[in-house]
């Protein structure tokens, strides 16, 4: 069974066609980097997989079923939109808020929910952060708490939206290795959304690159090439490999670096 299948899918966002007629499949257990420029439709694609938006055409299958909102088999880490600098909530309580958070009533965690939260914190080696308020944690530590939260409920598929944003190179590496290791240990597929390919090179099995309404999937060498990316960007693209790093250039402008802008 494939973790995700897109069959001639068309997605729109705000009346604009973001993806048209896109087909691909991601097998269970694969670590896939989801790449593309701002506005290429990365977050829109994740929201379609989560069942939050309906495709304008085609069919999506998630773990063998059509996408449904509230699918507990999907772990999701949304893009951070708030700094959480002023949130006086401990790491444990933050993770716990996702456990049974859809039920009504006062947030008193059951024993099973507490166990699930500790298990998620253990899985990412962040039990030491459990008791500290989010406001006191560093960017990398907060990101680990967010990933732990996405692991609540033993997901079969992990969708991570820009986990590397605003992290330095060392923390980026740590987060990627952590997610890679979790994906392998649990045997689940990971769709890892990023602006930049280079930090992901050490871990990804394949990349899914979005651009110009189209998508290309394959190994890094297959997808990150001049001809393929030229098609996705709709302009002439050069791919330059230097000292194990990849630079994607349109004429003389490097396209991927510095793209730390939030997109939708």
């Amino acid at each position: 069974m494939n973790a995700i299948e897109f069959d001639k899918v068309t997605l729109t966002y705000g009346g604009r066609r973001v993806l048209s007629d896109v087909s691909f499949s991601i097998p269970q257990g694969a670590f896939v980097g989801l790449l593309g420029a701002n506005g290429a439709g990365k977050t829109t694609m994740l929201r379609a997989i989560l069942g939050l938006i309906k495709p304008a055409g085609g069919a999506i299958s998630v773990l063998g079923k059509p996408p449904t909102r509230g699918n507990a088999d999907i772990g999701y880490m949304p893009q951070a939109r708030r700094a959480l600098n002023d949130v006086g909530i401990s790491g444990l309580d933050f993770v716990l808020s996702a456990a049974g958070g859809h039920r009504w009533g006062w947030p008193v965690a059951s024993a099973a929910e507490k166990e699930a939260a500790w298990k998620a914190l253990e899985a990412i080696g962040a039990t030491d952060l459990a008791r500290r308020p989010l406001a006191e944690l560093s960017g990398g530590e907060r990101q680990r708490i967010l990933i732990a939260q996405s692991l609540i409920g033993d997901p079969q598929l992990l969708l991570l939206d820009e986990p590397l944003i605003s992290l330095d190179a060392a923390h980026q590496r740590a987060i990627i290795d952590l997610v890679h290791e979790i994906g392998e240990r649990l045997g689940i597929a990971v769709l890892f959304c990023s602006h930049e390919i280079n930090p992901l090179l050490r871990a990804v099995d394949r990349v899914l690159y979005l651009g110009n309404g189209k998508a290309a999937i394959g190994s890094v060498d297959e997808v990150i090439s001049g001809p393929v990316l030229s098609k996705l960007y709709g302009t002439h693209i050069n791919v330059v490999r230097v000292a194990g790093r990849i630079f994607v250039m349109a004429d003389d402008v490097e396209l991927e670096s510095g793209a730390h802008v939030h997109d939708l």
Binding site: I74, D86, V87, G101
Partner: protein, 276 residues
């Protein structure tokens, strides 16, 4: 020797402050956590023409205030993120105060009460009003307990909550109605212009001092009630307005909690530098 509790208006004031402190502290905690403190401020402003307009047509100002804040609360809840537009909000707020002023112009007999609506007059609260405040407070707290869990989730991680099936628009609109009624209650104590002092200052202080939701809500309530009590006592001793003391103590609590947190964080930061 006479004490502060020998006067009926002082007893009523203490009852009202206790009730409103509990409500403001609890609702304010979630308001600050959600980063929506502007809403408390905005709702109070929108309530002003409700209060003066109700006076104009012979209804209770408290009733008019509450109706206006609830309608505005539902509006903010439905607009969601679109309600965060600076200029639009500013224009709505000034228009509200302008309308309130116009209603006062037509109903000059009410004008003497304008200061009370704007800055509060806790010493003028009747026992009847205390009872209304208490009934509304019970309703607000019961509703808050009912929605607290999805509210917390939707406040911390709105997109994840949406994906997990939380009806986030419903939850945020219900919460805004609670904020609206709580704001109307707070206006009885501190007035339209100073609602921040009761709704936000204690809650923001509590969020700095605690790391759990239950502890945070209880601390926020305790701070709001104690600040109101001390303010009443100081007003009794000094004859200065209660609302002034509430704003002053609220600001002081916020500043002191900031310093306390920094001094608590400093040794930990040094420790962290020592073992990276």
């Amino acid at each position: 020797m006479s004490t502060i509790f020998d006067y009926e208006f002082m007893r009523n004031a203490f009852y009202a402050c206790t009730i409103v402190g509990i409500v403001s502290g609890a609702v304010g905690y979630f308001l600050v956590l959600r980063g929506q403190t502007f809403a408390g401020h905005a709702l109070a402003h929108v309530g002003f023409p409700g209060a003066t307009g109700a006076g104009l047509i012979g209804l209770s100002p408290f009733f008019g205030l509450t109706v206006f804040t609830i309608v505005a609360g539902i509006g903010i809840g439905l607009l969601g993120e679109r309600a965060h537009r600076d200029v639009a909000i500013g224009i709505v707020l000034t228009l509200s105060l302008g309308l309130g002023l116009l209603f006062l112009h037509f109903y000059t007999a009410f004008a003497s009460q304008a200061t009370n609506v704007l800055f509060g007059n806790v010493l003028g609260i009747s026992l009847r009003t205390v009872i209304v405040l208490a009934v509304l407070a019970v309703a607000i707290l019961a509703a808050l307990v009912l929605i607290a869990r999805p509210l917390l989730f939707a406040s911390l991680q709105p997109e994840l909550a949406e994906a997990r099936g939380v009806p986030i628009n419903l939850v945020s609109t219900l919460f805004m109605v609670l904020v609206a009624v709580a704001t109307s209650e707070a206006v009885q104590i501190v007035g339209v212009l100073l609602v921040f002092a009761l709704m936000v200052a204690p809650a923001a202080t509590a969020l700095r001092l605690t790391s759990g939701v239950a502890a945070g809500v209880l601390t926020s309530i305790a701070l709001a009630v104690v600040i109101a009590w001390i303010s009443l006592s100081l007003a009794f001793l000094t004859d200065w307005p209660t609302s002034f003391w509430i704003t002053a103590l609220g600001a002081a609590a916020y500043v002191v909690s900031g310093m306390a947190r920094r001094s608590a964080a400093a040794p930990r930061a040094r420790l962290a530098d020592g073992n990276p």
